[in-house]
């Protein structure tokens, strides 16, 4: 039977499994690797970890449900993650967040599809340039509402990231199966 994971991802997972004393210890980096490639961690992925790599679904689910930064539902292709901790908050992070959210909502109301979602996150560790934000894994400093809008526009014009494409393809395949 074909593996649920790509050949490269299987190699990565095996690497982590061999790195620690117990298999359980490797759950965190393995889930990150899956999230990086598939954009989220589906129940199918959890079950495949048990079937193909011998990790118990209970152990994986305990870790997965404990941490909020693992995505348990399919996300949009880009995530604008604005720091809401104290320095960024004092420098207007809340305004950036609410503005970006309404910018996305308005565009969608007019029938446009925007490949973006916006979240408040905890400290990103660059307090000197508050407010700080991430778009997926790219870092931006001094993110005013204007810069946030520009980021949304610019990224929306680019080709979608590989993980987002894989996520969409997986979902389409799953829908076709049903």
């Amino acid at each position: 039977m074909a593996s649920f994971f790509s050949a490269g991802l299987n190699e990565t997972i095996k690497g982590y499994l061999g790195r620690y004393e117990t298999k359980r210890s490797s759950i965190l980096p393995i889930l990150h690797a899956i999230q990086d490639e598939n954009d989220w961690i589906s129940p199918e992925a959890v079950q495949a970890l048990e079937a193909e790599h011998g990790l118990s679904v209970i152990d994986v689910n305990e870790v997965l449900s404990f941490y909020t930064m693992y995505r348990k539902a399919p996300p949009k292709p880009y995530r604008l993650e604005v720091c809401g901790s104290i320095s960024c908050w004092l420098n207007g992070a809340d305004k950036t967040i609410s503005d970006a959210k309404s910018y996305i909502a308005q565009a969608e109301k007019s029938g446009q599809s925007v490949p973006f979602e916006c979240h408040k996150v905890e400290c990103l560790g660059v307090c000197g340039y508050a407010p700080v934000a991430l778009v997926n894994k790219d870092r931006y400093l001094n993110v005013t509402p204007e810069l946030a809008r520009k980021l949304i526009d610019d990224y929306s014009k680019k080709e979608l990231p590989a993980a987002a494409k894989k996520c969409a393809a997986d979902l389409a395949a799953r829908a076709a199966q049903k």
């Binding site: 129940p43 118990s56 679904v57 209970i58 152990d59 689910n61 305990e62 449900s65 404990f66």
Partner: protein, 493 residues
């Protein structure tokens, strides 16, 4: 260095092996330290923070379950500081607890309830609403899970990891949303699931087989032995003595035999004890007769028979005392030993073992029976699916000590059918099956709950049964019936 340490608990000295924890030392000293997550049969989790004790010289209170006892240590479990801490720890456990004790099946044997009555009793101080969580979840064939009652002690999770190694349970989410559960669509499927209801210190896991049937304070417990297989777990049998109704079995700690646990098959061993599933009086060719008349009929049938025309068919579900009584009585009546057969179920795989407790030999006293036969110098023929050796002996009278636990003999009806082809068969057993009606004489016997006696397990450990009053007053044990037989035979001479 000595491998014993001596410490004092509430000024009382106690000596324990080095490496013991304070809670173990306290148990030895007879001092009770309140606890939820600690269990002597499981690893230490240290999560409930309830077993706090004062150790002289340490600035803060320590958890007794995970603090090693050391030489000269002075432990105090009674000070106001300790009591105050218990109160607060309890309050934290009760923040999200629904306090539905009146409708909870654990009420009366709930550690949370007990400790509340002992060290709690205060007005709640929380302004926040309680967190609501899933209730009455069906987590398997035997258990119901109420996650609101759970205090997250993780005993069940560790049981699944360490004892059955099935790892079916986990703690999901975090903080006050943390919840015990199975993986979606998966259930607890193993033969030890009722232990989860036992070790759950609160009413989160309750047993489908017992919940809402009887309040525990109406039950009286008897220390006895499980008759379900050749392991012979030490158990407590629970009876509502005013109803004369048995409700359940629970394991009783015995390091030599079963440790802390027992299997789900063993938990069903109360079902055949109750009146509704038992033969109430002897049946001679389908007619009810008295016990005295039944034994008179057996005596008459045995009169003048040569020993080799009498067959004794044994199953390994009776006590040593009963085997001795029946063999001695027959020897004295017949002047020599009868032909002895051992009836095993044809599907039995006696060497099977599940790696925990349950054995393929579903008879509790195989070892004891073989020892008694050896002492009497008798070589028995085994009947396992093939009844030809018994038929070939052409007995005029066949006495059968039938299995008390009929579920251990899935092919019972077939065997009884073959026995009914023989001449006079006397069946000492409670079988209500149709095929049993064809037998010449059926005599009901006492069950393991109603007699004293000895079972010897697979490993040679002898354990005593303890007798409760019989469900039917007229029903006797096999040893009593055979005593009657030798008396009647003697008085006839």
């Amino acid at each position: 260095m000595s491998n014993q340490v001596t410490l004092s608990i509430n000024n009382q000295p106690v000596t324990v092996p080095a490496g013991s924890t304070i809670i173990e030392a306290a148990q030895k000293a007879g001092v009770s330290v309140p606890h939820f997550c600690w269990h002597p049969g499981l690893s230490i989790a240290g999560v409930c923070r309830f077993c706090m004790v004062k150790v002289e010289g340490m600035p803060k209170l320590q958890i007794a379950c995970n603090t090693p006892a050391t030489e000269g240590m002075k432990v105090d479990t009674l000070s106001d500081e300790v009591k105050e801490t218990h109160k607060w720890a309890l309050e934290f456990h009760l923040i999200n607890h629904p306090l539905d004790c009146p409708i909870c099946d654990q009420a009366g044997e709930c550690e949370l309830q007990n400790y509340y009555m002992k060290v709690g009793k205060y007005q709640a101080q929380m302004e926040d609403q309680k967190v609501l969580k899933p209730k009455a979840l069906d987590v398997g064939d035997t258990l119901v899970l109420d996650t609101e009652r759970c205090i997250l002690c993780s005993r069940c999770v560790r049981f699944e990891d360490e004892v059955t190694k099935t790892s079916t349970l986990g703690i999901f989410n975090r903080g006050d949303q943390a919840t015990i559960g199975t993986y979606p669509e998966r259930k607890i499927k193993h033969n030890y699931s009722y232990n989860l209801a036992d070790i759950c210190p609160v009413g989160a896991f309750t047993a489908k087989d017992f919940r809402f049937k009887c309040r525990v304070w109406f039950l009286k417990e008897t220390k006895t032995v499980c008759p379900g297989c050749s392991t012979g777990c030490s158990v407590n049998l629970f009876q509502n003595s005013s109803q004369r109704e048995y409700y359940r079995l629970k394991p009783r700690h015995n390091a030599e035999v079963n440790g802390h646990w027992m299997c789900d098959t063993g938990r069903t061993m109360y079902e055949h004890l109750n009146a509704s599933s038992r033969l109430a009086s002897p049946q001679l060719e389908g007619q009810s007769i008295s016990s005295a008349a039944a034994m008179q009929a057996v005596t008459d049938a045995a009169k003048g028979l040569a020993a080799d025309k009498v067959a004794l068919v044994l199953t390994a579900q009776f006590t040593n005392e009963e085997y001795v009584a029946s063999l001695s009585a027959l020897k004295s009546v017949l002047k020599s030993a009868p032909k002895v057969f051992i009836w095993r179920d044809e599907s039995e795989k006696s060497d099977d073992f599940d790696g925990i407790l349950f054995r393929g030999d579903r008879n509790p006293n195989t070892r004891g029976m073989m020892d008694v036969l050896k002492e009497h110098g008798i070589t028995a023929t085994v009947l396992k699916g093939d009844y030809a050796p018994l038929a070939a002996a052409a007995p005029e009278l066949t006495l059968i000590l039938a299995p008390e636990v009929e579920s251990a003999y899935p092919n019972l009806a077939k065997a009884v059918g073959r026995f009914s082809e023989l001449k006079k068969t006397v069946y000492f057993g409670n079988a209500l099956t149709d095929s049993a009606k064809k037998l010449w004489l059926r005599i009901p016997v006492k069950t393991f709950a109603e007699k004293s006696g000895t079972f010897v397990n697979f490993n040679g450990v002898a354990q005593k049964l303890k007798a409760n009053p019989a469900v039917f007053a007229n029903v006797k044990g096999v040893d009593e019936y055979f005593g009657d037989l030798s008396r009647l035979a003697q008085s006839a001479v």
